[in-house]
Amino acid sequence: MSEGVRPARPKKSIVPYFVAAAVLAFTVFAARQVGFSLSQIANNFDTARDFIGRFFPPDWGWAKENVPGPMIETIQIAILASIIGCTFALPVAFWASKLTANNRWVYYIDKWFLNVIRTIPDIFWAMLFVTGVGLGAFAGVLALIMFSFSIMGKLLSETIDSADPGPLEAARSTGAGHTQAVQAAVLPQVLPNYVAYALYIFELDIRASTVLGLVGAGGIGRVLEAQRSFFRFDRVMAVVVVIFVIVFLIEQVSVFVRRRLV
């Protein structure tokens, strides 16, 4: 027979219940603030159904003429922004990781910098750049560069944090300088992740760039806004379908390539 002393039953904490109650209360409060209303959905069902009727059938004739141009512009914005944003993010990500930052200061400043940029939504960036450099695709590109840059910075720096520090120690012990050691020992470890993240960010950029035009930053968004203001929902629908198809296709390709990278 085992002679062990039975451990005392751990005290059940009351904290989780408090937390749950607080969360529930907040949720109810927030719901009322946003006007949560299932009944509204139910009551307006007919109106909604009529409205939806105005989206169909999509005006393909008009779309053939007026969609390809702006859509290509949208794609171009995304391409340029992801390439530039992800390229600049590469060194920045290394500075933002405890493992590879040159010193404490660089690390803290860089991390703080990335965090602040990340808090500003891409649309806000677009609005700022439109105010600064004028309407059009240039503002959109700049906005998405900030967007891509900050996401890649965060994702990559976290990947670097979990890289194997052993080879880095080995590189240092050969007398290599800091940057050389990092490039030889850590970069090869995270390169596949970097490429996967870049593809993923490209996907995000395509999605984001479709709506940038709503604030005047170029791309198909301005077409959407124009048609909406004319209440031509059938044309809006056509655009939406095109956007959906393109985003979907790009996403499939991206996922496919990323899977092969792992």
Partner: protein, 256 residues
Amino acid sequence: MIEFKNASVTYRGGVRALRNINLTIHDGEFIVIVGLSGAGKSTLLRAVNGLVPVTEGSVVVDGKEVAGASPADLREIRSHVGLIFQTFNLVLRTSVLNNVLMGRLSKVPLWRSTLGMWPEEDREIAMQSLERVGIVEKAYVRASNLSGGQQQRVGIARALAQEPKVLLADEPVASLDPVTSHIVMRDLQRINRELGITTFINLHFLDLARAYGKRMVGLRAGELVYDGDISDVSDETFREIYGRAITPDDIMEIKG
């Protein structure tokens, strides 16, 4: 020549890893270091190339003071000291040759190593290092495809590619099976003999220390408690160094 003079290492938090080490190693010597885990073997090794800075005293390598050296001086010293790790520390994703070329990092400018445009001379040295440890045929194989013993030999080749004056090995065979361990130890012995490189090896297994060592240094709780020729070493010596009886864990191969 490597000289420790009253060298001590105290980590943040108060742990005294090395206490007052006085040790002189002449060029071309082959030294094994034994001691319990935590006795300070790794620290002693890393104090030689400054990966662990000494907090008191001095460490002089080939006339250059390691303690308090500037980053540039430290890199210069390190370029002449090769370090071999228990866990090999290879970049698994890349080729064997690229791993060995890491030994040449201190000799080429940043842009060359980043773009992979190594000068012919450095490539030649890397290849010859691989030949010296006998796995040149794996030069373009991805490092992760090698066995443990092969990876360690790449680690040795990497250190050799530095054209070092000193070779440090931190428990180089602890992760390897007995047969491979002997191969690696014999490689290290041969390199010391043929190239005259001062060799400094931490060993966990006492039978290996006895079989391959020429001079033995024993550490206990950060202090140097033994320093002498291997032929004078007996089981009693080990018991003194360890401060306890020898267990089967301390021996690699149990005879009988």
